[in-house]
Structure formats: structure tokens, C-alpha cells
Amino acid sequence: MRLLWIAATLLMMAPLVVTLWLSFSPDPFFTLPVSDWSVRWFTQAVTGEQWRQAFFRSLWMAGLSGALAVGLAIAAAWVSRGKASAWWALYLLPACLPQVAWAMGLLPMAGALPEGSRLCLLVVAQALLGFPVALLLIGLRVDAAFRMLLAAAADLGASPAQAWWRVGLPRLFPAVAAAFLLAATLAFHEPVLCLFLCQPGEETLPALVWPTLRSSLTPVVAALASLTMGCGLVIAGWALGVFGRWFR
């Protein structure tokens, strides 16, 4: 069974390794094996104005989506007492819908919004997609012991706000940090809603890369894929590390 697990893991990792390998090739025609190494495409990806703008747009949108997902998840986890409830079926609804159908339904809504507010709609929609992951992580920490600690703080004279600030939030911090980073990472990479809702000149990184992926692939895209993959995995690894160390 262990050998099969290793085989399945290698199979899942293989495309990531191949992309990373190819992005260091100086050859613009993607020939394997790569004999010479170059960071030429990374330099182009980092210095390209269009890519850089899209990257930072994706980054702040992912940050807002992550923060919103975490805020919603803390409240929802408190209500559901860390256990799956009937509400969860509703919470999971956006993640279970076919994203193209949802995006097509959001398109007329986006059209009715004032100029420049489409990105806000996108941020909220992406937050709803990251929300189940945040709820799962934070829900694990909002257990009976957590409630007892808050009750004990209240018995000792703390107001509800003080109990949350001095006792609740420090205890929840690892889960909140991990949930924020994971929800933000998922929002950063989300392509389907961006493709439908982003206007020209307002594209996020996945929406900007999409036409290149569909038609003629360039090495700059491979370098961008490696960069976003590296960032995503480092952030997620750190988030899970923080969560793992604190969650006993």
C-alpha cells in the first residue's frame, strides 16, 4: 500500500516538476531534456509590466478574499460548534455548483453593477469558494474546550469582547492564519470566475495567462507557473506547519 501511495504521489507531482524543469530552459521551444540552465524567462516574467500588474491585482484580491472567508468562517464555526450541521450544506453550495454555470449567472449581475465594482463582486465570489476550507480548519479549533475557556474568562469578570480578544483569538490564531493563507492561495489561482467577470485591463494573473495557454504556449508562462507554484506551496507549507505545530 505504501508503494502505491508513493506511486500516486509521484504521479500527482510529475507535472509540477516538469513545469519547473522546463521553466529554467533557455530554449524557447520547450525541448526535453534541459541541458543548459537559464533564468531568462523568470526575468521577463518579473519585469513585464502587464504580468506584474496582473500579479499584484491577483495578490490584493486574494488577500481580501482570504480575510473575508476567514471572518465568515469564524462566525459560522462558532454557530455550528465546530461540527457539521445542516447549514454546512448551504455553505458548501458555491463550491459544489458548476463554476461556469455560476459565472454565467453572475455575468448579468456584474453588468448591472457600477463601473469598476466588478472586482468587488469577484472578491466576494472567490471568498465564498475559499470559505469551506477556512470553515473546516477553524471549525476544528472551536471545540468544547474553546467554549469552556471563554466561559471561564467570563466567570472571572471579562466582558465578551475582552474574553474574545485576550483568550479566544490567541487560541484561534494558528487556525485563522492557516485558513487565511489557504483561502487566499485558492483565490489567487482561481481562473473560471476571473475569465467571465474580469474586464479588459482588469485581468487577474490566471485570466491573463488563459489565452496563451489555449493558443501558443510561451516559456514566460512556464516561468510564471513556476513562480506562482513556488509561492503557493511555500505559503501553504508554512500555513500547514503553523497549524500542525499548534493543533494538538
Partner: protein
């Protein structure tokens, strides 16, 4: 009473956002699917009503597309289930650092973004149905494995050893104890994988080519390349009906007690 009111306040924001973004968008999708096309002026005639988009969608012209979408969803489910099982099973009893490393490995293809796997598959494989299928399996498996892992970790697996201690053979332990315990999770993952497979867009759009078109890729094509929003919306409604039907299928062999 006070607790109920504060619970409503806390559950409210998430539910309100789901209601605000999902319900009106679905209503608009259905309404849009019942509009006439704009015939060159705008995207649709807002004040019109017609069944034309659905009659066209249910005509023989679209039968191959709908049939292929259903087969593709089933194929994705068949690919995702064993892979998700292989990835989730060894982590069912792990804890601490091993679990975190396992989770990172399990979620890596998704957390790395859709770009990296799609770039590699696009370079290594020719366009076609198999490439599109592989891409979707890569993209869906991490989520499916995570859902399965959550279910498997909720089971007390010492009962397998107990069954062996009571004289059951290996195949009996699996068929009488292990599989029935894991079955609700497997069913749920199968439903989710089929639902996500039916709505597959990324893999078929980039790697499918002209023969690997699904309802989702055709929806995008009709909306953005042909500017036929009402027909695209009708395809979206059909997709919702198909996925909804999958989630409503009554689980086979499950009682009320062990339904996930």
C-alpha cells in the same frame, strides 16, 4: 432565546452572502436562458420570452455534446476515486508532522495553482480527450482525497484488528467491516467527483481540442465567441440540472445512520 438570536446574527453574514450571490445569479441564469438572442445588438433581448434555446439544446444537434459531457464526468469519477483512495488511506491514522506533510503533498497540485499542471500536460501530451481527462483528474483529485481523508479519520479503524482477532479472514475483514465503514465517504466523493467532472472546463478547454468539447467549454464558446448569451445560459441551466440530479441520487446501501 438570546443565544438563538446571537447565532442568527453570526450565521447571517455567510448565509446572506451565499443567498445574495447564488440565488439571484441562478434566477438570472434561468431568466437569461428564456430570452431571445439579440441578433447583433447587445447580448440578449431583455423583455423577450422563448423556449427556443431549450428546444435547440434538446434537439439532436446537441445530443453528442450532452452525451460526451456525461461520459466525460463518469470517466473523471472513475479516475479520481482510486487515486483519492490511494492518497488518503495512508493518512487516516497519521498525526502531527506526518499528517501535515501528507496534507501538503495531497493538496500540492491544487495549491500550486492550475497553471503548473496544465502547462506540463499541454507540453507533454497531444490535444485530445485523454489529455483533457488526465488534466481534470489532476485538478479534482486533491479535493476528493481531502474529503475522503476527513471521512476516513472519523472512523475507528481498530475494529479491523478486532475482526481479525475474532477469526475473520483478510477478505472478510475488508468486505464485511472495512468497506461498509468507508462506503459513505466513497459515495460522497464519487458524487462530488462526478459533479465536478460534469462541469469540467479547464482541462477540456485547454487540452481537449475540437473533439473534447463539454457543455462547460461550449457555454464559454457560445457566450464569448458567438455572443449567444441565452443559449449559453440554457447550457448552464442544463448543467445545473445534471449536477443537481447527481447530488440527489439516493445513496446505494446506506442507512440513515451512516449517511455522510
Amino acid at each position: 432565546m438570546r443565544s438563538t438570536r446571537s447565532n442568527a446574527w453570526l450565521a447571517g453574514p455567510a448565509l446572506a452572502l451565499v443567498a445574495l450571490l447564488v440565488v439571484p445569479s441562478m434566477v438570472l441564469l434561468v431568466r437569461l436562458s428564456l430570452c431571445q438572442p439579440a441578433y447583433g445588438v447587445g447580448f440578449y433581448r431583455a423583455d423577450s420570452f422563448t423556449w427556443e434555446n431549450f428546444t435547440r439544446l434538446l434537439s439532436p444537434e446537441f445530443a453528442p455534446l450532452i452525451g460526451f459531457t456525461c461520459l466525460f464526468g463518469l470517466a473523471v469519477m472513475a479516475g479520481v476515486l482510486p487515486l483519492a483512495w490511494l492518497l488518503a488511506w495512508p493518512l487516516r491514522a497519521s498525526g502531527g508532522g506526518r499528517l501535515m506533510i501528507g496534507l501538503l503533498v495531497l493538496l500540492a497540485p491544487r495549491l500550486a495553482g492550475m497553471l503548473a499542471p496544465l502547462v506540463a500536460l499541454r507540453l507533454l501530451l497531444p490535444r485530445g480527450v485523454v489529455s483533457a481527462w488526465l488534466a481534470e483528474v489532476f485538478l479534482i483529485t486533491p479535493y476528493a482525497a481531502l474529503v475522503l481523508l476527513v471521512h476516513l479519520r472519523g472512523i475507528d479503524w481498530t475494529v479491523l484488528a478486532a475482526a481479525r482477532g475474532l477469526g475473520a479472514r483478510d477478505w472478510q475483514v475488508w468486505s464485511r467491516v472495512g468497506l461498509p465503514l468507508a462506503w459513505p465517504g466513497l459515495w460522497l466523493v464519487g458524487q462530488l467527483a462526478l459533479g465536478w467532472g460534469l462541469g469540467a472546463f479547464l482541462g477540456p478547454d485547454i487540452l481537449g481540442g475540437p473533439i473534447g468539447r463539454t457543455l462547460a467549454t461550449d457555454l464559454h464558446h457560445q457566450a464569448f465567441d458567438n455572443s449567444r448569451w441565452p443559449l449559453a445560459a440554457a447550457e448552464g441551466v442544463l448543467l445545473l440540472v445534471l449536477v443537481g440530479a447527481v447530488y440527489l441520487i439516493r445513496p446505494f446501501g446506506l442507512t440513515r445512520e451512516n449517511h455522510p
